[in-house]
Symmetry: D2
Subunit: 351 residues, 4 copies
């Protein structure tokens, strides 16, 4: 099969490179409106086919899957066309501009029985896989909180705020690790230099006693990328800035004992060893690429399928609503359309 | 003059030790209801006078100032008695249980022309003093955000939540550093093991484009105590867990230029050197003790006077309201009593 | 029993404090020629007896053990007098100025059946105890190297070089951890500002394929205190500057396989998890004090007995010889006196 | 001009990649005896010419410069042929197997007026350039010591010891930074698993009061790459494992004052700020490639010319001698051949 990559901006060339070395991929077609980008990719990877015509991509019967790596606002219209053309679809994160678009993509992929995946690269890292293993096996116990910090002197985006830029990474990790699903979101932030927030704090609420918080910031002088997951049995730190020892597992927890006579709880700490599992350093993106091909071939569900894409988009949309409302708590249930939802009119997309 | 320290739990003995070696303090009287604690302090510091009678302290004409280091709920009634007795007053943080109590203490101290101070120890550290200097001189430019993390596998308190336990440190630092005053507070958190929250995120809102956020957590496997202050000219990191190089000043900022032709802003980063000022390691508590004595003698205002204590308490009270209301934004203006406020009836406190 | 501490300079007061809270010690006598120091100790610890007369200490029948915390050059003459007086002896590190003195002290303690101990405080830390456990159980396998760095912007000493000042800590740890005994020493260094070296590198050679190296430096802008121990099965890092996680155990090693056909060895790495054992933070000095009292009572050997003191002094003496000889390897066997050694004439020490 | 790269093992492909994008280089010829390696390089960089014939490289008039990236033992014979063919020569570090070979290469390059350079990549890093600037301007004052640690769980080499594998990096940095030239070398080490040392400590002695030390180790569980340079005015730490802040400059030093009355020196510390200069992250190898082309064009000397290659090789050879002699100090003056040295017979090299 062939894979097409549409959009050769910052991330597209990485996708091209990875699909070129993915098993069972016989050719990669790169598509962009800008001829200069096509020349550049051709120079680096002479075996790549290039085209400026998205329609040609849709018409090419050898292309089984299409990867959309264009700006977020175009994910939905382009994605719809890919599915209409009967091709499997992989979309750069975030999957869509809002919940409605994301649900529509899911419906259509389901109706056509096509694979719909999102490039949540981080869930394919060995570090996150190791955390998933610890949580799935029950080693961590009940999860008490999920705390994420992703801050840096990052590039200001001209079409989105810091939440939509950075939080999808951590939201997809949370969605992958935590079985419970969020019920509400609150978010505060400030926009100092444009209409888009550059510092924000996003909180995800659950029905159970669990809280998740995401600090995203384009104005931090230091680069921090750390997730803490606290459980009743173990606690885990994932520091992506560490060259080695990214994951540290702390045998620390809380023991609660009921004291008979006084109807009082005794809360005590347990402090044991820390260990840092050895983690291979394979590239996450190549695992993601391989899974896309595998899902196309077998129809099996992906660990970052359309549903996970929808989950992330729903939180992002709620965050935008909350931030405008001064941090008010926004119920996620309000965002989904009632069952039997109408078909959206697909905007025409001039290629 | 003599100084009395009331309450010899965890922090009281440190206050005794410091006042013993403060210039112009001729004697320290330690007061606690528990004789065992008095014996212990006597064993360590034989020159200390001890008493179980708070009234004796109030009656002793040689005692010019009284330090209240008892549980928070007793700060107000004990403090009122100290002021009634015409003595200067230093209260452990937080100053009171709510805004009303704090304002009443201020009123009474003002009426009697007595010094009212709060033990916000951190504002006396060399690190915070250095940050104050940078901000006051204008080196940092406009402050864009204040981000604080104070997390640890801390002791569960049986009478308060993690916000009242840990946030006063960082709120007092913010109050000291930032000239603008907060207008509202929102706060989310979870209580896993008792009625008191053990993980919380507190946001302080300002009229200007400035946001302050405080992460406090008793359930973190790692100990983090870090404040980031981002300004338009410089950014500062204060990491209290570093043995040296606690303060790092980054010559990093944002340049915004108006581009004529397109009515568009161009946002650009500036990345320069980092430097870490050499900071002396004198004990903050001894500076605080010395300032109390100095304020008593001269009547000059303290850098952690009653007003700062009130500012901190107001945010804490608003945080409690917000957390119960699911993170709703709480206006601080609602908490203060209208001018010409009535005198509160002082609860009787049986010593 | 009573314990006397002779010499109240930098370290003596710590010894006084610890022996005051040691079980079975009924009183501590502090002895120094300088009355001002005695006043200071009395102020801090009013229950301490003080005297300027070393002879009084020797004559006091209630004093069972004497601690010598005076400058190194006086350790031997004072120690001899203590043993002559029939009292047990604990000497600050390093035990003596040279091998001859150290051996003489051992002989005399042995002849009188008195306890002779050295204050090698570090071997009583939980971190070193944990390393000892790992090595003793065979978990580490064969030790391949021992690498120590102890550097800092330290105080220049006026009577000794950086080797005698800092290396005894690490030499005593090595002596405690490594069963094999050194056969030779080589050492290089430079004295920039006085006759005493301020930067030095000391190498300890063994009969087996094992090397130990010690970097000591008074001129380092950063404070490093790290020991690496590499074994065939596990490798250990001990970083004393870490607040927690001082000890890290790496499941990393080398597998050597003989390849049949080619009479060639295949050397391969094994890279597994790292773990950091939880370590209590009890004060090492109080364990050392307790052991001295225990040894006095029971006659059992100490983990830092006179022999370990001799081992350390022998390496230090060899280092001084080597450094003067441009780093030449110095055999340790040459330093010891032949069996049946003559009694040394004891220099008169005017107290 | 064209550049030929001979030897496509671990490092050769990096050289090919860099010369491909170097200004004024019109083509790159890759030469290796193994056709498979040529296929691989062709696949990655289709525009590269390939050949298995070293003689063809020598005969190609369009090739102005040849890069030798083969095993060390072949550097000399291949290098001689390159110079004989009248081509400019860049050799991978270390330049040669011994001082005699290195000097012969220098003589021949000089006689033919050809550029002779060594790929000491580290001297082209922004970090080392910044250190050079500080030292050259006199900011650091007199250099007191140079301490280097380069340890890792590295690959065992089958034809050389850890010194020849790792120390050339740090020796070339020292040679670049320190104006004084070494007079002697001493070295100790252990070979645990083969005839080649896997742990070693190399000391470089100077006529002045300056000492340089290099710890190289293939058996360390942690990766450390740090250089400390202590000066009378400033001290510098270069930590290559830091993502940012690789260079830290400490305003710390030693003040020595003569005290009149007592003919005694007073040695005092000065502790000031630390700062970390912002350093660009350009690739050092591309600067090295550009300089080779520049030297070919202009005849100007390189910062890593043949003389620096010789300086490094001389220390390495002396280290090997010293290590066999138990760490004995080896005078570097003995290694150089007397002036008017005979021509070496060039071993025939079968391509």
């Amino acid at each position: 099969m062939k894979i097409a990559v549409v959009g050769l901006g910052y991330w597209g060339p990485n996708l091209v490179r990875n699909f070129l070395s993915t098993d069972q991929v016989e050719g990669v077609v790169a598509c962009d409106l800008a001829p200069r980008r096509l020349e550049n990719i051709k120079k680096k990877f002479p075996m790549v086919e290039t085209t400026t015509s998205f329609d040609d991509v849709l018409r090419d019967d050898n292309i089984a899957g299409v990867v959309i790596a264009t700006p977020v606002s175009t994910h939905f219209p382009l994605g719809v066309k890919v599915l209409e053309a009967g091709k499997h679809l992989l979309i750069e994160k975030p999957m869509a501009s809002n919940t409605a678009e994301a649900e529509e993509l899911l419906d259509r992929a389901y109706a056509k029985m096509l694979t719909l995946m999102v490039d949540h690269t981080f869930v394919y890292t060995s570090a996150v896989q190791k955390m998933k293993e610890l949580i799935a096996k029950g080693d961590i116990g009940d999860v008490l909180y999920f705390d994420s910090v992703r801050i840096n002197l990052g590039l200001f985006q001209h079409d989105t705020n810091v939440i939509w830029d950075l939080a999808p990474h951590d939201l997809s990790i949370m969605d992958y690790l935590i079985e419970d699903k969020p019920i509400a979101v609150s978010c505060v932030g400030v926009n100092h230099f444009s209409e888009f927030e550059d510092v924000a704090y996003l909180t995800v609420h659950f029905a159970e006693k669990l809280i998740a918080q995401f600090h995203v910031n384009w104005l931090s002088p230091v680069k921090v990328r750390r997730i803490l997951v606290g459980g009743t049995k173990l606690m885990v730190s994932y520091d992506d800035m560490e060259a080695s020892e990214k994951i540290k597992v702390y045998d620390r927890g809380v023991d609660v004992r009921d004291e008979d006579s006084v109807y009082k709880k005794l809360v005590q700490y347990r402090t044991g060893n820390m260990y840092s599992p050895n983690i291979d350093s394979g590239e996450a993106l190549s695992r993601m690429s391989a899974e896309f091909v595998d899902c196309i071939n077998t129809g099996k569900p992906s660990i970052s399928d359309g549903q996970t894409g929808l989950n992330v988009v729903k939180v992002l949309e709620a965050a935008n609503i909350s931030i405008k409302a001064g941090g008010r708590r926004v119920d996620l249930s309000h965002l989904s359309r009632p069952h039997g939802r109408a078909l959206y009119s697909i905007p025409t997309f001039e290629n």
